[in-house]
Amino acid sequence: MTRSGDAARGWLLPVLGFVSILVLWHAVVVLLQVPEFVAPTPLAALRTLGDRWPLLLQNFWPTAVEALAGFLLGNTLAVLTAVVFVHSRLVERAYFPVAVFFNTIPVLALAPILVLIFGLGMLPKIVIAAVICFFPTLVNMIRGLEAVGRPELELMRVLNASRLEIFWRLRVPRSLPFLFAALRIASTTCVVGAIVGEWIGANNGLGALIIQATFNYQSPLLYATLFVSSGLALLFFGAVVALEKRVLRWS
């Protein structure tokens, strides 16, 4: 078997998988005569995607900005918190349970509280997206910074390395595979966070569009919005994977 043959088959199977689901979806809607306001055919959804593209794009950008800002904010705070925790067992023992507690609050319950505090602008959406990214990155980053072998630490000790040198030259590089595993998760959940925030109160954004389309029984528009939302999440995911490939060439 040639390499290019393998590559073609690598693409072919997922595409076939998607196409088969679309065909099944279409068949179910047509055969069961489902009314369009309940569930449109995939063709109708795709047609709306084309027809309403300007409206979708106009609502794409606020969500993209909120998700990206939340991604950056949440992950930065998570990494910094992990660094503090790894440096001070005392702080970790005091505050890690707090982080666990906050993580158990459903984001849907947290969203109204944040809207009350931060108002109806972009800020509460950014904060919700950040909150949803925070915990997985915190946990992974703590594990990553501690994923240092005893021989490696002994090597650094024989070389008389300082704590700071050990941190930058050993702990940080060791943590990167763990960090990227968390960033992959965060790249899609941050979009969820932004959309949930928009549900609670927003005039534009994909979340607001979802609410409007649902209340107006515009299901083709609702489905087209879902496509755009998952497209946004895939875009973030792809960016993280591309960055990971550049940074983690060794692993």
Binding site: G149, R157, V158, N160, R169
Partner: protein, 259 residues
């Protein structure tokens, strides 16, 4: 230098505590090694030969006795970067290229403050035969090559004492033989004192000017076998009758030690 001995240990004791259990790893170990010596440590597992090496590298605290490396305590010698250490596993940082792994020794621990390195990382990699693989990543190298990189890194800054903890234990026999030859050449070229822990009788006899046999429970020195008379006329061929005789002598010393 006034200090005639590279290493002087007197009455060294090491005690580990695990889950409230005391374990005496070394008891009253005394050993003096001349500067420029190549000494092999051999003994049954649990005899504390690795622990002895770690005492010299200041990786294990001593419970009693006194250790000096060129007149300094192990902690002082470590802080002054006079020690090189090779681990069982090469312990290279996988994200760094070969040359960057060796340069690590120049980047951390303020080695430059001590003295300018006599040999650059490039020259050291040339010395271990890896001058052509500077930009390779450790994952692309064989086990033997990785250990060569580790040796080059340990030699940065001309350590007065090179401590090697079964560095070739995981390698196949042919690679091990070749690296033994290279290590002897490096020892002759650099003049550094080497303490080498091994499980292999042949390796100990082939490499050492002297072999120290240790016994377990608690770890202590059982016997010392001076190989310098046998090696006075140059190296000792692995197939020679003298080599076989010395290996046999070492085997019976080890049997006495309870291996």
């Amino acid at each position: 230098m006034a200090e005639p001995f590279a290493v002087r240990m007197a009455g060294i004791g090491v005690v580990f505590e695990r889950d409230g259990q005391r374990f005496e790893a070394l008891r009253t170990v005394s050993l003096e090694l001349a500067a420029g010596a190549f000494v092999c440590l051999i003994g049954p597992s649990g005899c504390g030969k690795s622990t002895l090496l770690r005492v010299l590298a200041d990786l294990v605290p001593i419970a009693g006795g006194e250790a000096r490396i060129l007149g300094q305590t192990p902690a002082e010698a470590r802080a002054a970067r006079r020690l090189g250490f090779c681990f069982q596993d090469a312990t290279l940082l996988p994200w760094r290229t070969v040359i960057a792994n060796v340069r690590l020794a120049l980047e951390v621990g303020r080695p430059a403050a001590a003295r300018p390195p006599r040999r650059s990382p490039e020259e050291l990699l040339e010395l271990v035969g890896l001058g052509a693989r500077l930009d390779a990543l450790p994952g692309e190298l064989s086990g033997g090559m990785r250990q060569r990189v580790a040796i080059a890194r340990a030699l940065v800054g001309d350590p007065a004492l090179l401590l090697m903890d079964e560095p070739f234990g995981a390698l196949d026999e042919l690679t091990r033989d070749r690296l033994n030859d290279e290590l002897l050449r490096i020892w002759q070229e650099t003049g550094t004192t080497i303490v080498f822990v091994t499980h292999s009788l042949g390796e100990a006899v082939y490499l050492g000017q002297e072999v120290v046999v240790m016994a377990a429970g608690p770890g202590r020195i059982h016997a010392r076998l001076d190989l310098r008379p046998a090696k006075a006329e140059g190296g000792l061929g692995r197939d020679s009758a003298t080599f076989a005789a010395l290996t046999g002598e070492l085997r019976s010393l080890l049997a006495e030690a309870g291996a």
